[in-house]
């Protein structure tokens, strides 16, 4: 993607997608027993951005989404949680992808684990207690499961996008 207009369009589309996915996830009633356990649908857009358009795009999409979501329907505490989770998981995923050894599934799985770990650390600081650490084992596995699913779907999306690009960008 060397064409600046195409790059800007890709950033815009992926950020919009991340926002829509955040909204969609907020519509799902909380049915998990453990607070903080969720699928993280918006990370579909982040992982897709990382593999389709590169690390800068993933950072922009992730940070813009977190900022916009907190402005549109969030509060300051939720902002701290998502910012910590988003930044740490993006950093982990970018570093792992840079090694060139890992596909979307493994990278996204590690990102999911990094996400829950960072959020629990923030929770421990905000609430001034280490008791929240008891949630780590169950959230760790939830992060693995959610990350793997997100990575699998993102991988398919990326493959479809690559095919579409090779075909001259026509639908």
């Amino acid at each position: 993607m060397k064409n600046p207009a195409k790059t800007a369009a890709a950033y815009g589309v992926l950020t919009a997608l991340a926002l829509i996915l955040s909204w969609l996830e907020a519509q799902i009633p909380v049915f998990f027993a453990v607070p903080g356990m969720k699928l993280g649908l918006a990370n579909l857009a982040v992982v897709t951005a990382l593999y389709f358009a590169g690390a800068p795009c993933a950072c922009v999409v992730s940070l813009l989404r977190i900022f916009l979501v907190s402005v549109l329907f969030g509060n300051s505490a939720a902002f701290a949680y998502s910012l910590a989770g988003g930044v740490v998981s993006a950093a982990v995923m970018i570093l792992l992808k840079r090694t060139g050894r890992f596909g979307t599934i493994a990278v996204s799985t590690a990102g999911g684990v990094a996400h829950v770990t960072a959020q629990l650390a923030v929770a421990a600081v905000l609430m001034g207690t280490s008791s929240v650490g008891w949630y780590l084992p169950v959230l760790w596995f939830a992060g693995i499961a959610a990350g793997a699913v997100i990575g699998l779907v993102s991988g398919e999306v990326c493959r479809a996008l690559e095919r579409w690009k090779k075909g001259g960008g026509r639908t």
Binding site: Y51, R101, F102, A106, G128, T129, L136, W140
Partner: protein
């Protein structure tokens, strides 16, 4: 973009994360079993503490003559019976993890699971 969805390195990374999760869980289970105590407070001061590992039934003398029957069984604690009108404490069920608590407002009774050190680290601030 390689055609194979899961390469060897991917599997190794995911397996390592799963293994780390199992270790974390084992660590948590071991930590939660060793020397956890049930701390009973009435009107904010500690009146009794019992090891979570020993089964027992105790009648707690709450504020204003109220009573709560505390039952510790199979590594969990719950309030079996209470003199208070709403009996919310009975409905709060079994607690077994550090930091969990049962609160009876009318009798000013707090039953809390504490770690090996006895009281929780936040108590230094809250007291």
């Amino acid at each position: 973009m390689k055609n194979r969805r899961l390469r060897r390195a991917d599997l190794v990374l995911i397996a390592a994360l799963l293994a780390a999760g199992v270790l974390l869980s084992l660590g948590a289970v071991l930590l939660s079993r060793t020397g956890m105590t049930v701390v009973v407070r009435v009107s904010g001061s500690v009146v009794a503490s019992y090891p979570l590992s020993e089964d027992r039934e105790v009648e707690i003398a709450g504020a204003d003559g109220g009573t709560n029957l505390l039952v510790i069984r199979d590594g969990g604690a719950h309030i079996e019976d209470a003199s208070c009108p709403d009996r919310l404490c009975v409905g709060m069920g079994v607690i077994r993890r550090t930091g969990q608590s049962i609160i009876c407002l009318p009798n000013r009774v707090v039953v809390e699971i504490a770690g090996p050190s006895g009281a929780r680290d936040t108590d230094a601030v809250s007291e």
